[in-house]
């Protein structure tokens, strides 16, 4: 009894040769990652090319649909914006409406000369030729002919140290008289005669050239003393406040006679 025909066919040397070649190739492709990687890369390249071609063809339609999508989004946003209630700004009254309270506080002006001053420090100060013997004590405010200058920090019998408003630790409550908005001065960058006024809300429409006065909230200075003029506005919308840069009326490099304000009572 001989072998069946199909088995005889399969057992022929060329068929066995083919079978062994196939087995060898199977092992090669199974244990060698390079062809699979190359094939994968080639297929990726092919698919990228196909996508690029189709994208190039469809680009005008995609652009049109994008424009349409943006138009609709804009419309929706405008509609949504129309329904958002904006916070109403506080009522502002003319200065005179509340009367002038400055008369309630009487001050004595002590004239003093600057005998020494720093200019390019972050903590600028000046030494004045009036001290404790003249009734000067720490915490008094100092003004010049044109506006505020600083605050008395230390005194001896005959001299006193005045911290300038251009000092990193001196913050003065100021106001924009047109709006009665209160802010605080800071000075951290060494730019002489420039103060930053912070915490002015964004709904206040500050304008360049506006005057800045001391606020009656100030614990150091009496209210309504001129500080400077708004030079520029750098609004930071992420913080919710304006940052107002004010050019001081007093020129720190040309201080002459200054006046220490001492409460009369």
């Amino acid at each position: 009894m001989g072998l069946p025909l199909w088995l005889r066919l399969l057992a022929r040397p060329p068929v066995l040769w083919l079978f062994l070649q196939s087995a060898a190739l199977y092992f090669f492709f199974t244990y060698n990652p390079t062809p699979a990687h190359r094939l994968e890369r080639w297929l990726l390249g092919l698919s990228a090319s196909i996508h690029e071609i189709f994208y190039g063809l469809a680009r005008p339609w995609l652009a049109l649909s994008e424009v349409e999508r943006l138009r609709k989004m804009n419309e929706e946003l405008l509609n949504a914006l129309a329904t958002i209630p904006f916070p109403s700004p506080p009522l502002s009254y003319p200065l005179a409406a509340w009367g002038d309270f400055t008369a309630m506080q009487k001050y004595r002006f002590i004239a003093a000369e600057v005998v020494y001053q720093t200019i390019h420090h972050r903590a600028n100060y000046a030494i004045l030729n009036k001290g404790g013997q003249d009734g000067v004590y720490p915490g008094l405010s100092v003004v010049g002919h044109r506006g505020i200058v600083g605050v008395i920090a230390e005194t001896t019998a005959t001299y006193s140290v005045m911290y300038s408003v251009l000092h990193r630790d001196v913050h003065v409550a100021v106001t924009l008289p047109r709006h009665q908005a209160v802010g605080f001065t800071t000075w951290s960058t060494p730019t002489l005669n420039e103060l930053h006024v912070e915490y002015i809300p964004l709904y206040i429409s500050v304008e360049v050239g506006e005057e800045v006065w001391t606020s009656s909230n100030s614990l150091i200075f009496p209210g309504r003393i001129r500080v400077g003029v708004v030079e520029r506005i750098e609004s930071d919308f992420t913080q919710g406040f304006h940052e107002v840069i004010v050019r001081t009326y007093e020129d720190w490099q040309r201080l002459g006679t200054v006046f220490i304000l001492c409460p009369a009572s």
Binding site: L16, Q21, Y26, F28, N32
Partner: protein, 168 residues
């Protein structure tokens, strides 16, 4: 029986050559000698094809184990073994079948080149292109140079060993 031990010796010799020497005498990566192709060229043509297939495959498997990637040596070696009879018939159409047993005794260097080099080239074409998975200029250069270099060593074996061996 004499030719049976001879092809085993060739197989062993070329394996030792490949293991110990080939790496050191390669010319960068462009000319790598693989004289073990000689084994498939030298397998007796007068044998039963089944035994020939077994002998060719076993040598291929040994090479696969020693020099991966697995399967590739068997694949390329079986190509050489499968084509060599057709190639010989194409070169010498009038060669009588009985003469196949004393083939290497009759071969001159020129005959051996005509028989061995195209088959070595065919082996290297498959082997190197599949290993690199490329058919670029550098791959083709490697195939050509390696084939020449391999054949040089095959020729050395043929001239120094086989020619003398068959002449005895």
């Amino acid at each position: 029986m004499r030719e049976g031990t001879a092809f085993l010796n060739i197989g062993f010799l070329t394996l030792v050559f490949q293991l110990g020497l080939a790496r050191h005498i390669s010319v960068h990566s462009y000319a790598v000698p693989m004289p073990y192709v000689m084994y498939w060229l030298y397998l007796p043509l007068s044998w039963n094809p089944y035994w020939g297939l077994v002998a060719a495959s076993v040598f291929g498997v040994i090479l696969d184990i020693l020099f991966p990637p697995y399967g590739l040596q068997s694949f390329c070696g079986l190509w050489v073994w499968g084509l060599r009879r057709f190639w010989l018939r194409a070169l010498h159409p009038t060669l009588p079948e009985k003469a196949e047993a004393t083939l290497f005794q009759r071969f001159s260097s020129g005959d051996f080149f005509a028989y061995g080099f195209p088959l070595t080239l065919w082996h290297h074409l498959w082997y190197i292109s599949l290993v690199e998975w490329s058919l670029g200029f550098h791959t083709l250069l490697r195939i050509g140079l390696s084939s020449l270099y391999s054949f040089f060593w095959e020729w050395v074996i043929f001239e120094l060993l086989l020619h003398r061996y068959h002449a005895r």
